[in-house]
Protein backbone atom coordinates (compact mmCIF):
# COMPACT_ATOMS: atom_id res chain seq x y z
CA UNK A 1 0.00 0.00 0.00
CA UNK A 2 1.22 3.47 -0.80
CA UNK A 3 -0.50 5.11 2.17
CA UNK A 4 -1.34 3.29 5.38
CA UNK A 5 -3.22 4.96 8.19
CA UNK A 6 -4.18 3.23 11.43
CA UNK A 7 -6.34 4.63 14.22
CA UNK A 8 -5.12 8.12 13.47
CA UNK A 9 -6.16 10.74 16.02
CA UNK A 10 -5.29 14.42 16.00
CA UNK A 11 -6.41 16.83 18.69
CA UNK A 12 -5.96 20.59 18.81
CA UNK A 13 -6.31 21.92 22.33
CA UNK A 14 -8.80 19.23 23.26
CA UNK A 15 -10.74 19.45 19.96
CA UNK A 16 -10.65 16.29 17.87
CA UNK A 17 -9.84 17.01 14.24
CA UNK A 18 -9.32 13.31 13.47
CA UNK A 19 -11.10 10.77 15.59
CA UNK A 20 -9.52 7.43 14.67
CA UNK A 21 -9.08 7.17 10.92
CA UNK A 22 -8.15 3.86 9.28
CA UNK A 23 -7.29 3.91 5.60
CA UNK A 24 -5.17 2.14 3.05
CA UNK A 25 -4.58 3.69 -0.36
CA UNK A 26 -2.96 1.81 -3.22
CA UNK A 27 -0.80 3.36 -5.92
CA UNK A 28 -2.35 4.77 -9.10
CA UNK A 29 -5.31 6.96 -9.92
CA UNK A 30 -6.95 9.80 -8.10
CA UNK A 31 -8.36 9.41 -4.62
CA UNK A 32 -10.58 12.16 -3.23
CA UNK A 33 -11.05 13.20 0.36
CA UNK A 34 -14.45 14.83 0.51
CA UNK A 35 -16.13 16.52 3.42
CA UNK A 36 -17.40 19.80 4.80
CA UNK A 37 -15.23 22.41 6.54
CA UNK A 38 -13.75 21.01 9.72
CA UNK A 39 -14.17 17.40 8.59
CA UNK A 40 -10.45 16.77 9.05
CA UNK A 41 -9.36 16.62 5.38
CA UNK A 42 -6.53 19.14 5.65
CA UNK A 43 -5.37 17.77 8.99
CA UNK A 44 -5.18 14.30 7.46
CA UNK A 45 -3.13 15.39 4.44
CA UNK A 46 -0.90 17.58 6.60
CA UNK A 47 -0.07 14.56 8.74
CA UNK A 48 0.79 12.63 5.56
CA UNK A 49 3.00 15.55 4.43
CA UNK A 50 4.79 15.56 7.78
CA UNK A 51 3.53 19.03 8.69
CA UNK A 52 1.59 17.82 11.73
CA UNK A 53 2.33 15.27 14.41
CA UNK A 54 -0.59 12.93 15.10
CA UNK A 55 -1.80 12.77 18.69
CA UNK A 56 -1.96 8.97 18.39
CA UNK A 57 -2.14 6.30 15.72
CA UNK A 58 0.11 5.68 12.78
CA UNK A 59 0.52 7.06 9.28
CA UNK A 60 2.99 5.83 6.69
CA UNK A 61 3.58 6.92 3.10
CA UNK A 62 5.74 4.60 0.97
CA UNK A 63 6.37 2.84 4.31
CA UNK A 64 8.04 6.03 5.60
CA UNK A 65 7.12 7.91 8.74
CA UNK A 66 6.15 11.41 7.55
CA UNK A 67 7.85 13.13 10.50
CA UNK A 68 10.87 10.93 11.11
CA UNK A 69 11.65 10.32 7.43
CA UNK A 70 10.48 13.75 6.24
CA UNK A 71 13.43 14.44 3.97
CA UNK A 72 13.26 11.09 2.14
CA UNK A 73 9.49 11.38 1.86
CA UNK A 74 9.50 14.91 0.41
CA UNK A 75 11.66 13.71 -2.47
CA UNK A 76 8.85 11.35 -3.43
CA UNK A 77 5.78 13.47 -2.85
CA UNK A 78 4.65 16.67 -4.52
CA UNK A 79 2.47 18.94 -2.44
CA UNK A 80 0.08 21.71 -3.35
CA UNK A 81 -0.97 23.47 -0.18
CA UNK A 82 -4.41 24.93 0.38
CA UNK A 83 -3.01 28.46 0.70
CA UNK A 84 -0.12 29.04 -1.63
CA UNK A 85 2.31 31.84 -0.77
CA UNK A 86 4.46 32.32 -3.83
CA UNK A 87 7.09 35.07 -4.14
CA UNK A 88 5.11 37.89 -5.70
CA UNK A 89 8.01 39.76 -7.29
CA UNK A 90 9.58 36.78 -9.05
CA UNK A 91 8.92 35.65 -12.59
CA UNK A 92 7.54 32.16 -13.20
CA UNK A 93 10.91 31.02 -14.56
CA UNK A 94 12.65 32.38 -11.45
CA UNK A 95 10.23 30.61 -9.10
CA UNK A 96 10.84 27.33 -10.95
CA UNK A 97 14.59 27.91 -10.83
CA UNK A 98 14.41 28.55 -7.07
CA UNK A 99 12.43 25.40 -6.33
CA UNK A 100 14.55 23.33 -8.73
CA UNK A 101 17.57 24.22 -6.57
CA UNK A 102 15.85 22.65 -3.56
CA UNK A 103 15.78 19.16 -5.12
CA UNK A 104 18.63 16.95 -6.28
CA UNK A 105 16.92 16.14 -9.60
CA UNK A 106 14.08 17.85 -11.40
CA UNK A 107 12.30 17.76 -14.74
CA UNK A 108 13.09 20.44 -17.29
CA UNK A 109 11.08 23.56 -16.36
CA UNK A 110 9.82 23.77 -19.95
CA UNK A 111 8.29 20.29 -19.66
CA UNK A 112 6.61 21.13 -16.34
CA UNK A 113 5.19 24.36 -17.74
CA UNK A 114 3.80 22.36 -20.65
CA UNK A 115 2.12 19.97 -18.21
CA UNK A 116 0.34 22.80 -16.42
CA UNK A 117 -0.33 24.81 -19.59
CA UNK A 118 1.79 27.81 -18.65
CA UNK A 119 4.09 27.70 -21.67
CA UNK A 120 4.87 31.20 -22.86
CA UNK A 121 4.29 32.72 -19.43
CA UNK A 122 7.86 32.19 -18.19
CA UNK A 123 8.59 35.90 -17.86
CA UNK A 124 5.34 36.85 -16.14
CA UNK A 125 5.65 38.12 -12.57
CA UNK A 126 3.73 36.03 -10.04
CA UNK A 127 1.78 39.06 -8.85
CA UNK A 128 0.35 39.54 -12.35
CA UNK A 129 -1.04 35.99 -12.63
CA UNK A 130 -4.73 35.15 -12.41
CA UNK A 131 -6.02 32.84 -9.67
CA UNK A 132 -6.08 29.90 -12.04
CA UNK A 133 -2.54 30.57 -13.28
CA UNK A 134 -1.27 30.77 -9.71
CA UNK A 135 -2.86 27.44 -8.91
CA UNK A 136 -1.27 25.95 -12.01
CA UNK A 137 2.11 27.39 -11.02
CA UNK A 138 1.61 25.90 -7.61
CA UNK A 139 0.89 22.57 -9.31
CA UNK A 140 4.05 23.01 -11.40
CA UNK A 141 6.11 23.35 -8.20
CA UNK A 142 4.52 20.16 -6.89
CA UNK A 143 5.43 18.37 -10.15
CA UNK A 144 8.91 19.78 -10.60
CA UNK A 145 10.78 16.83 -9.06
CA UNK A 146 8.57 14.25 -10.80
CA UNK A 147 7.03 12.82 -7.60
CA UNK A 148 5.28 9.47 -7.42
CA UNK A 149 2.49 10.83 -5.19
CA UNK A 150 0.78 14.20 -5.49
CA UNK A 151 -1.13 15.60 -2.55
CA UNK A 152 -3.39 18.44 -3.62
CA UNK A 153 -5.27 20.31 -0.91
CA UNK A 154 -8.34 21.94 -2.45
CA UNK A 155 -6.59 22.71 -5.75
CA UNK A 156 -9.63 24.41 -7.24
CA UNK A 157 -10.89 26.37 -4.23
CA UNK A 158 -11.96 29.91 -5.18
CA UNK A 159 -11.42 29.31 -8.92
CA UNK A 160 -13.99 30.14 -11.55
CA UNK A 161 -15.51 27.21 -13.50
CA UNK A 162 -13.18 27.67 -16.49
CA UNK A 163 -10.03 27.73 -14.34
CA UNK A 164 -11.38 24.77 -12.38
CA UNK A 165 -11.80 22.78 -15.58
CA UNK A 166 -8.21 23.61 -16.49
CA UNK A 167 -6.99 22.13 -13.21
CA UNK A 168 -9.27 19.11 -13.68
CA UNK A 169 -7.74 18.43 -17.09
CA UNK A 170 -4.23 18.54 -15.59
CA UNK A 171 -5.18 16.16 -12.77
CA UNK A 172 -6.78 13.77 -15.25
CA UNK A 173 -3.63 13.76 -17.38
CA UNK A 174 -1.44 13.13 -14.34
CA UNK A 175 -3.56 10.18 -13.23
CA UNK A 176 -3.53 8.83 -16.79
CA UNK A 177 0.27 9.12 -16.77
CA UNK A 178 0.40 6.77 -13.78
CA UNK A 179 0.74 9.24 -10.91
CA UNK A 180 -1.15 8.71 -7.69
CA UNK A 181 -3.11 11.82 -6.76
CA UNK A 182 -4.67 12.38 -3.35
CA UNK A 183 -6.87 15.43 -3.40
CA UNK A 184 -9.13 17.10 -0.91
CA UNK A 185 -12.12 18.98 -2.17
CA UNK A 186 -15.41 20.59 -1.23
CA UNK A 187 -16.73 20.12 -4.73
CA UNK A 188 -18.73 16.94 -5.13
CA UNK A 189 -18.80 17.06 -8.91
CA UNK A 190 -15.01 17.40 -8.86
CA UNK A 191 -14.68 14.21 -6.81
CA UNK A 192 -17.20 12.42 -9.02
CA UNK A 193 -15.40 13.51 -12.18
CA UNK A 194 -11.79 12.95 -11.14
CA UNK A 195 -11.67 10.25 -8.49
CA UNK A 196 -11.66 6.51 -8.85
CA UNK A 197 -12.18 6.35 -5.11
CA UNK A 198 -13.89 8.82 -2.79
CA UNK A 199 -13.46 8.91 0.97
CA UNK A 200 -16.13 10.88 2.80
CA UNK A 201 -14.97 12.44 6.05
CA UNK A 202 -17.21 13.90 8.70
CA UNK A 203 -16.12 15.17 12.08
CA UNK A 204 -12.76 13.47 11.76
CA UNK A 205 -14.15 10.07 10.81
CA UNK A 206 -14.44 8.14 7.56
CA UNK A 207 -18.18 7.75 6.98
CA UNK A 208 -18.10 6.30 3.47
CA UNK A 209 -15.40 4.95 1.19
CA UNK A 210 -15.60 3.56 -2.33
CA UNK A 211 -15.77 4.43 -5.99
CA UNK A 212 -18.38 7.08 -6.84
CA UNK A 213 -20.37 4.33 -8.60
CA UNK A 214 -20.27 2.07 -5.55
CA UNK A 215 -21.18 4.88 -3.18
CA UNK A 216 -24.15 5.86 -5.31
CA UNK A 217 -25.26 2.23 -5.50
CA UNK A 218 -24.88 1.82 -1.76
CA UNK A 219 -26.92 4.90 -0.95
CA UNK A 220 -30.61 4.82 -0.17
CA UNK A 221 -31.31 7.58 -2.67
CA UNK A 222 -34.24 7.11 -5.07
CA UNK A 223 -34.10 7.52 -8.83
CA UNK A 224 -36.70 9.62 -10.60
CA UNK A 225 -38.45 8.34 -13.73
CA UNK A 226 -40.42 10.48 -16.20
CA UNK A 227 -42.65 8.67 -18.68
CA UNK A 228 -44.73 10.09 -21.53
CA UNK A 229 -47.18 7.66 -23.06
CA UNK A 230 -49.83 8.05 -25.75
CA UNK A 231 -53.08 6.18 -25.32
CA UNK A 232 -54.56 4.47 -22.28
CA UNK A 233 -52.01 3.92 -19.50
CA UNK A 234 -52.46 2.13 -16.18
CA UNK A 235 -49.46 2.51 -13.86
CA UNK A 236 -50.45 -0.33 -11.54
CA UNK A 237 -47.78 -2.79 -12.85
CA UNK A 238 -45.12 -0.09 -12.31
CA UNK A 239 -46.31 0.55 -8.77
CA UNK A 240 -46.22 -3.20 -8.19
CA UNK A 241 -42.52 -3.02 -9.23
CA UNK A 242 -41.89 -0.38 -6.57
CA UNK A 243 -42.56 2.89 -8.44
CA UNK A 244 -44.29 5.58 -6.44
CA UNK A 245 -46.34 8.04 -8.51
CA UNK A 246 -45.37 11.63 -7.89
CA UNK A 247 -47.93 13.27 -10.20
CA UNK A 248 -47.55 14.95 -13.59
CA UNK A 249 -44.95 17.31 -14.99
CA UNK A 250 -46.38 18.63 -18.26
CA UNK A 251 -47.12 15.56 -20.36
CA UNK A 252 -44.85 13.36 -18.27
CA UNK A 253 -45.79 11.14 -15.38
CA UNK A 254 -43.22 11.29 -12.62
CA UNK A 255 -42.29 8.31 -10.41
CA UNK A 256 -39.85 7.77 -7.59
CA UNK A 257 -38.20 4.38 -7.86
CA UNK A 258 -35.81 2.45 -5.67
CA UNK A 259 -35.04 -0.20 -8.33
CA UNK A 260 -35.17 1.46 -11.75
CA UNK A 261 -34.29 -1.80 -13.53
CA UNK A 262 -37.40 -3.60 -12.25
CA UNK A 263 -39.62 -0.65 -13.09
CA UNK A 264 -38.26 -0.36 -16.65
CA UNK A 265 -38.83 -4.11 -17.18
CA UNK A 266 -42.41 -3.72 -15.88
CA UNK A 267 -42.90 -0.75 -18.22
CA UNK A 268 -41.67 -2.83 -21.19
CA UNK A 269 -44.11 -5.65 -20.35
CA UNK A 270 -46.93 -3.15 -20.01
CA UNK A 271 -46.22 -1.54 -23.38
CA UNK A 272 -45.90 -4.88 -25.14
CA UNK A 273 -49.27 -5.86 -23.68
CA UNK A 274 -50.77 -2.84 -25.47
CA UNK A 275 -50.85 -0.46 -22.57
CA UNK A 276 -50.04 2.61 -24.65
CA UNK A 277 -47.22 3.92 -26.85
CA UNK A 278 -44.06 5.21 -25.27
CA UNK A 279 -43.18 8.75 -26.42
CA UNK A 280 -40.44 9.67 -23.94
CA UNK A 281 -38.61 8.07 -21.05
CA UNK A 282 -36.18 9.94 -18.82
CA UNK A 283 -34.41 8.89 -15.68
CA UNK A 284 -32.28 10.68 -13.11
CA UNK A 285 -30.09 8.42 -10.98
CA UNK A 286 -28.96 9.59 -7.51
CA UNK A 287 -25.69 11.50 -7.78
CA UNK A 288 -22.69 11.60 -5.51
CA UNK A 289 -24.16 14.83 -4.20
CA UNK A 290 -27.23 12.90 -3.00
CA UNK A 291 -24.90 10.40 -1.35
CA UNK A 292 -22.89 13.21 0.20
CA UNK A 293 -25.97 14.93 1.58
CA UNK A 294 -27.28 11.63 2.84
CA UNK A 295 -24.06 10.91 4.74
CA UNK A 296 -23.48 14.43 5.93
CA UNK A 297 -27.10 14.91 6.87
CA UNK A 298 -29.55 12.24 7.93
CA UNK A 299 -27.16 9.29 8.17
CA UNK A 300 -24.38 11.24 9.73
CA UNK A 301 -25.34 10.33 13.25
CA UNK A 302 -25.64 6.66 12.36
CA UNK A 303 -22.23 6.87 10.72
CA UNK A 304 -20.75 8.37 13.84
CA UNK A 305 -22.38 5.68 15.92
CA UNK A 306 -21.07 2.96 13.61
CA UNK A 307 -17.58 4.36 13.88
CA UNK A 308 -17.89 4.55 17.63
CA UNK A 309 -18.96 0.92 17.71
CA UNK A 310 -16.12 -0.07 15.37
CA UNK A 311 -13.65 1.75 17.61
CA UNK A 312 -15.01 0.08 20.70
CA UNK A 313 -14.84 -3.34 19.03
CA UNK A 314 -11.26 -2.81 17.85
CA UNK A 315 -10.29 -1.58 21.31
Amino acid sequence: MLIEIEKLVKEYEGQRALAGVDLAIAAGGTVGLLGPNGAGKTTLVEILEGLREPTSGRAAVFGLDPRRDAKALRLRIGVQLQATALPQELRISEVLRLYAALYPRTLAPRKVLEQVELTGKERALVRTLSGGERQRLSLALALLHDPELLILDEPTAALDPVARRGVHAIVERLAAAGKTVLLTTHYIEEAEKLCKRVILLRQGRVVADGSPFELIGRAAGLSTLWIEVEGPFDATPLEAAGAVAQGREGRHLRFSVADPGAVVVALGDLLRAGGGKLVDLRMRRPTLEDVYLEWMGENAQDGDQENQEKEEKSA
Binding site: L51, L75, L81, A85, L90, L102, L141
Partner: protein, 284 residues
Protein backbone atom coordinates in the same frame (compact mmCIF):
# COMPACT_ATOMS: atom_id res chain seq x y z
CA UNK B 1 21.09 18.77 -3.18
CA UNK B 2 23.22 20.70 -0.79
CA UNK B 3 22.37 23.15 1.94
CA UNK B 4 24.70 25.66 0.31
CA UNK B 5 22.93 25.38 -3.05
CA UNK B 6 19.50 25.74 -1.44
CA UNK B 7 20.49 28.69 0.72
CA UNK B 8 22.16 30.51 -2.18
CA UNK B 9 19.09 29.95 -4.36
CA UNK B 10 16.88 31.34 -1.61
CA UNK B 11 19.17 34.33 -1.03
CA UNK B 12 19.22 35.03 -4.76
CA UNK B 13 15.44 35.00 -4.97
CA UNK B 14 15.12 37.29 -1.91
CA UNK B 15 17.58 39.73 -3.49
CA UNK B 16 15.71 39.71 -6.81
CA UNK B 17 12.44 40.32 -4.98
CA UNK B 18 14.00 43.19 -3.03
CA UNK B 19 15.43 44.76 -6.15
CA UNK B 20 11.94 44.86 -7.72
CA UNK B 21 10.23 46.41 -4.71
CA UNK B 22 10.44 50.18 -4.43
CA UNK B 23 9.37 50.01 -0.79
CA UNK B 24 12.14 47.53 -0.01
CA UNK B 25 14.75 49.69 -1.77
CA UNK B 26 13.58 52.77 0.14
CA UNK B 27 13.70 51.08 3.55
CA UNK B 28 16.98 49.30 2.82
CA UNK B 29 18.99 52.09 1.22
CA UNK B 30 17.29 55.45 1.57
CA UNK B 31 15.77 55.38 5.04
CA UNK B 32 19.07 54.88 6.97
CA UNK B 33 20.34 58.09 5.34
CA UNK B 34 17.79 60.05 7.36
CA UNK B 35 20.04 59.44 10.38
CA UNK B 36 23.04 60.59 8.33
CA UNK B 37 21.43 63.92 7.52
CA UNK B 38 20.11 64.48 11.05
CA UNK B 39 23.46 63.59 12.64
CA UNK B 40 25.61 65.26 9.99
CA UNK B 41 23.81 68.55 9.54
CA UNK B 42 22.26 69.04 12.98
CA UNK B 43 24.49 67.37 15.60
CA UNK B 44 27.81 67.68 13.71
CA UNK B 45 26.87 70.97 12.07
CA UNK B 46 28.29 69.63 8.83
CA UNK B 47 31.87 69.90 10.14
CA UNK B 48 34.11 67.08 8.80
CA UNK B 49 35.93 66.36 12.12
CA UNK B 50 32.64 66.19 14.02
CA UNK B 51 31.10 63.98 11.32
CA UNK B 52 34.17 61.73 11.52
CA UNK B 53 33.56 61.37 15.26
CA UNK B 54 29.90 60.42 14.88
CA UNK B 55 30.27 58.08 11.88
CA UNK B 56 31.08 54.94 13.94
CA UNK B 57 27.90 55.45 15.96
CA UNK B 58 25.89 56.07 12.81
CA UNK B 59 27.19 52.93 11.08
CA UNK B 60 26.44 51.00 14.28
CA UNK B 61 22.86 52.34 14.29
CA UNK B 62 22.36 51.39 10.64
CA UNK B 63 23.65 47.88 11.34
CA UNK B 64 21.39 47.37 14.35
CA UNK B 65 18.21 48.84 12.94
CA UNK B 66 18.57 47.08 9.57
CA UNK B 67 19.30 43.72 11.19
CA UNK B 68 16.50 43.87 13.71
CA UNK B 69 13.77 45.83 11.99
CA UNK B 70 14.34 44.95 8.34
CA UNK B 71 15.56 41.42 7.94
CA UNK B 72 14.12 39.81 11.06
CA UNK B 73 10.64 41.12 10.19
CA UNK B 74 10.93 39.63 6.74
CA UNK B 75 11.37 36.17 8.28
CA UNK B 76 8.34 36.71 10.52
CA UNK B 77 6.26 37.96 7.58
CA UNK B 78 7.31 34.98 5.42
CA UNK B 79 6.27 32.62 8.17
CA UNK B 80 2.99 34.41 8.67
CA UNK B 81 1.98 34.36 5.01
CA UNK B 82 2.86 30.69 4.63
CA UNK B 83 5.94 31.06 2.41
CA UNK B 84 8.04 29.02 4.86
CA UNK B 85 5.34 26.34 4.90
CA UNK B 86 5.70 26.00 1.12
CA UNK B 87 9.44 25.49 1.58
CA UNK B 88 8.81 23.03 4.37
CA UNK B 89 7.15 20.56 2.01
CA UNK B 90 10.39 20.40 0.01
CA UNK B 91 13.49 18.61 1.33
CA UNK B 92 15.02 21.98 2.31
CA UNK B 93 16.44 21.91 5.84
CA UNK B 94 15.70 24.78 8.25
CA UNK B 95 19.40 25.68 8.23
CA UNK B 96 19.25 26.47 4.51
CA UNK B 97 16.34 28.85 5.04
CA UNK B 98 18.15 30.68 7.86
CA UNK B 99 21.35 30.76 5.81
CA UNK B 100 19.45 32.10 2.79
CA UNK B 101 18.02 34.90 4.90
CA UNK B 102 21.47 35.57 6.35
CA UNK B 103 23.17 35.89 2.97
CA UNK B 104 20.35 38.13 1.72
CA UNK B 105 20.50 40.29 4.86
CA UNK B 106 24.29 40.62 4.75
CA UNK B 107 24.26 41.58 1.07
CA UNK B 108 21.61 44.22 1.70
CA UNK B 109 23.29 45.50 4.83
CA UNK B 110 26.64 45.74 3.05
CA UNK B 111 24.97 47.79 0.32
CA UNK B 112 23.29 50.07 2.88
CA UNK B 113 26.54 50.60 4.83
CA UNK B 114 28.60 51.26 1.69
CA UNK B 115 25.97 53.66 0.41
CA UNK B 116 25.89 55.48 3.72
CA UNK B 117 29.65 55.68 3.93
CA UNK B 118 29.97 56.85 0.32
CA UNK B 119 27.22 59.43 0.72
CA UNK B 120 28.76 60.75 3.96
CA UNK B 121 32.19 61.00 2.32
CA UNK B 122 30.74 62.77 -0.70
CA UNK B 123 28.71 65.28 1.32
CA UNK B 124 30.81 65.93 4.40
CA UNK B 125 34.30 64.93 3.14
CA UNK B 126 35.21 63.69 6.60
CA UNK B 127 38.59 62.04 7.26
CA UNK B 128 39.01 58.31 7.96
CA UNK B 129 42.14 57.96 10.08
CA UNK B 130 42.61 54.20 9.70
CA UNK B 131 42.82 51.75 6.83
CA UNK B 132 39.75 51.01 4.75
CA UNK B 133 40.55 47.32 5.16
CA UNK B 134 40.18 47.58 8.95
CA UNK B 135 36.96 49.52 8.51
CA UNK B 136 35.57 46.83 6.20
CA UNK B 137 36.70 44.13 8.66
CA UNK B 138 34.84 45.79 11.53
CA UNK B 139 31.69 46.32 9.49
CA UNK B 140 31.78 42.67 8.40
CA UNK B 141 32.22 41.54 12.01
CA UNK B 142 29.22 43.70 12.93
CA UNK B 143 27.14 42.03 10.22
CA UNK B 144 28.23 38.60 11.41
CA UNK B 145 27.00 39.44 14.90
CA UNK B 146 23.81 41.35 14.24
CA UNK B 147 22.32 39.51 11.28
CA UNK B 148 22.05 36.19 13.21
CA UNK B 149 20.79 38.06 16.29
CA UNK B 150 18.17 39.83 14.17
CA UNK B 151 17.09 36.54 12.62
CA UNK B 152 16.81 35.08 16.12
CA UNK B 153 14.07 37.65 16.77
CA UNK B 154 12.58 36.54 13.46
CA UNK B 155 12.64 32.95 14.71
CA UNK B 156 10.90 33.56 18.00
CA UNK B 157 8.56 36.39 16.95
CA UNK B 158 5.11 34.88 16.56
CA UNK B 159 3.69 37.37 14.05
CA UNK B 160 4.19 40.82 12.57
CA UNK B 161 2.03 42.37 15.32
CA UNK B 162 3.98 41.04 18.29
CA UNK B 163 7.51 40.82 16.86
CA UNK B 164 8.14 44.61 16.72
CA UNK B 165 7.63 44.84 20.51
CA UNK B 166 10.33 42.22 21.02
CA UNK B 167 12.55 44.05 18.54
CA UNK B 168 12.15 47.35 20.37
CA UNK B 169 13.03 45.64 23.62
CA UNK B 170 16.33 44.51 22.13
CA UNK B 171 17.15 47.46 19.86
CA UNK B 172 16.61 50.47 22.12
CA UNK B 173 19.11 49.46 24.82
CA UNK B 174 21.61 48.75 22.01
CA UNK B 175 21.03 52.20 20.54
CA UNK B 176 21.26 54.20 23.72
CA UNK B 177 23.64 52.21 25.93
CA UNK B 178 26.26 51.43 23.28
CA UNK B 179 27.40 54.98 22.64
CA UNK B 180 25.92 54.83 19.15
CA UNK B 181 23.23 57.46 19.69
CA UNK B 182 25.07 59.49 22.33
CA UNK B 183 28.71 59.55 23.45
CA UNK B 184 29.52 56.59 25.69
CA UNK B 185 31.69 58.64 28.07
CA UNK B 186 28.66 60.82 28.92
CA UNK B 187 26.72 57.83 30.29
CA UNK B 188 26.76 57.28 34.08
CA UNK B 189 29.22 54.61 35.24
CA UNK B 190 26.53 52.06 36.09
CA UNK B 191 24.91 52.54 32.67
CA UNK B 192 28.32 52.06 31.07
CA UNK B 193 28.56 48.75 32.94
CA UNK B 194 25.29 47.68 31.34
CA UNK B 195 26.50 48.94 27.97
CA UNK B 196 29.62 46.77 28.28
CA UNK B 197 27.36 43.70 27.94
CA UNK B 198 25.92 44.68 24.57
CA UNK B 199 27.33 43.66 21.18
CA UNK B 200 26.52 47.11 19.72
CA UNK B 201 28.99 48.66 22.18
CA UNK B 202 31.82 46.55 20.73
CA UNK B 203 30.87 47.38 17.15
CA UNK B 204 30.90 51.08 18.01
CA UNK B 205 34.19 50.69 19.92
CA UNK B 206 35.79 48.73 17.08
CA UNK B 207 34.66 51.25 14.47
CA UNK B 208 36.02 54.12 16.57
CA UNK B 209 39.38 52.31 16.82
CA UNK B 210 39.37 51.67 13.05
CA UNK B 211 38.05 55.05 11.84
CA UNK B 212 39.03 57.64 14.44
CA UNK B 213 42.05 56.30 16.31
CA UNK B 214 43.41 54.59 13.19
CA UNK B 215 44.68 51.64 15.25
CA UNK B 216 46.21 48.56 13.59
CA UNK B 217 44.24 45.36 12.94
CA UNK B 218 45.53 43.71 16.12
CA UNK B 219 43.76 46.40 18.17
CA UNK B 220 40.44 45.29 16.66
CA UNK B 221 40.80 41.69 17.83
CA UNK B 222 38.99 42.24 21.17
CA UNK B 223 35.84 43.88 19.75
CA UNK B 224 35.80 41.43 16.83
CA UNK B 225 36.04 38.45 19.21
CA UNK B 226 33.05 39.72 21.20
CA UNK B 227 31.04 40.30 18.02
CA UNK B 228 31.88 36.83 16.68
CA UNK B 229 30.85 35.31 20.01
CA UNK B 230 27.44 36.98 19.72
CA UNK B 231 27.22 35.90 16.08
CA UNK B 232 27.84 32.27 17.03
CA UNK B 233 25.31 32.53 19.86
CA UNK B 234 22.82 33.98 17.34
CA UNK B 235 23.40 31.05 14.97
CA UNK B 236 23.00 28.50 17.76
CA UNK B 237 19.77 30.18 18.93
CA UNK B 238 18.46 30.16 15.37
CA UNK B 239 19.18 26.48 14.94
CA UNK B 240 17.48 25.71 18.27
CA UNK B 241 14.40 27.87 17.89
CA UNK B 242 13.63 28.11 14.18
CA UNK B 243 9.91 27.72 13.49
CA UNK B 244 8.36 26.97 10.12
CA UNK B 245 4.91 28.11 11.14
CA UNK B 246 3.47 30.70 13.50
CA UNK B 247 1.30 28.01 15.04
CA UNK B 248 4.32 25.88 15.99
CA UNK B 249 4.84 26.32 19.74
CA UNK B 250 8.17 27.67 20.95
CA UNK B 251 9.92 24.74 22.58
CA UNK B 252 10.10 25.90 26.19
CA UNK B 253 13.09 23.77 27.12
CA UNK B 254 15.11 24.94 24.13
CA UNK B 255 14.16 28.55 24.76
CA UNK B 256 15.33 28.26 28.36
CA UNK B 257 18.58 26.61 27.22
CA UNK B 258 19.08 29.34 24.61
CA UNK B 259 18.52 32.13 27.08
CA UNK B 260 20.93 30.45 29.49
CA UNK B 261 23.53 30.32 26.73
CA UNK B 262 22.95 34.00 26.05
CA UNK B 263 23.35 34.79 29.75
CA UNK B 264 26.64 32.84 29.81
CA UNK B 265 27.88 34.84 26.82
CA UNK B 266 26.94 38.10 28.52
CA UNK B 267 28.75 36.96 31.66
CA UNK B 268 31.84 36.07 29.62
CA UNK B 269 31.77 39.47 27.93
CA UNK B 270 31.39 41.21 31.30
CA UNK B 271 34.46 39.40 32.62
CA UNK B 272 36.70 39.11 29.57
CA UNK B 273 35.41 41.87 27.29
CA UNK B 274 38.11 44.32 26.16
CA UNK B 275 38.50 47.70 27.85
CA UNK B 276 36.53 50.44 26.11
CA UNK B 277 38.57 53.41 24.98
CA UNK B 278 35.35 55.31 24.21
CA UNK B 279 34.53 55.32 27.94
CA UNK B 280 37.09 58.11 28.25
CA UNK B 281 36.24 61.56 26.93
CA UNK B 282 38.34 62.59 23.90
CA UNK B 283 41.44 64.62 24.82
CA UNK B 284 41.61 63.32 28.41
Amino acid sequence: MSVVRSSLALARSYLIENSRSRAAIFWTLAFPQLFLFVFGFIFAEGKPEKVAYMMPGLLTLTTITSAFFGYSMRLVAERERGALRRLRVTPTPAGAVVAGHMVHAMANLSAALLFQLGLALAIFRFPIHGSLGNLALMLFAGELAFVPLGLFVGCIGRDTRSAPALTNLIVFPQMFLSGAAMPFFLLPAWVQQLGRLLPATYLNEGLQRAMIAGLPTAALAGPIAVLLLFGVIGLVLNSMLFRWESSDPLPGGRLAAGLMLLALALGAVAIWGPALSMAVAPGR
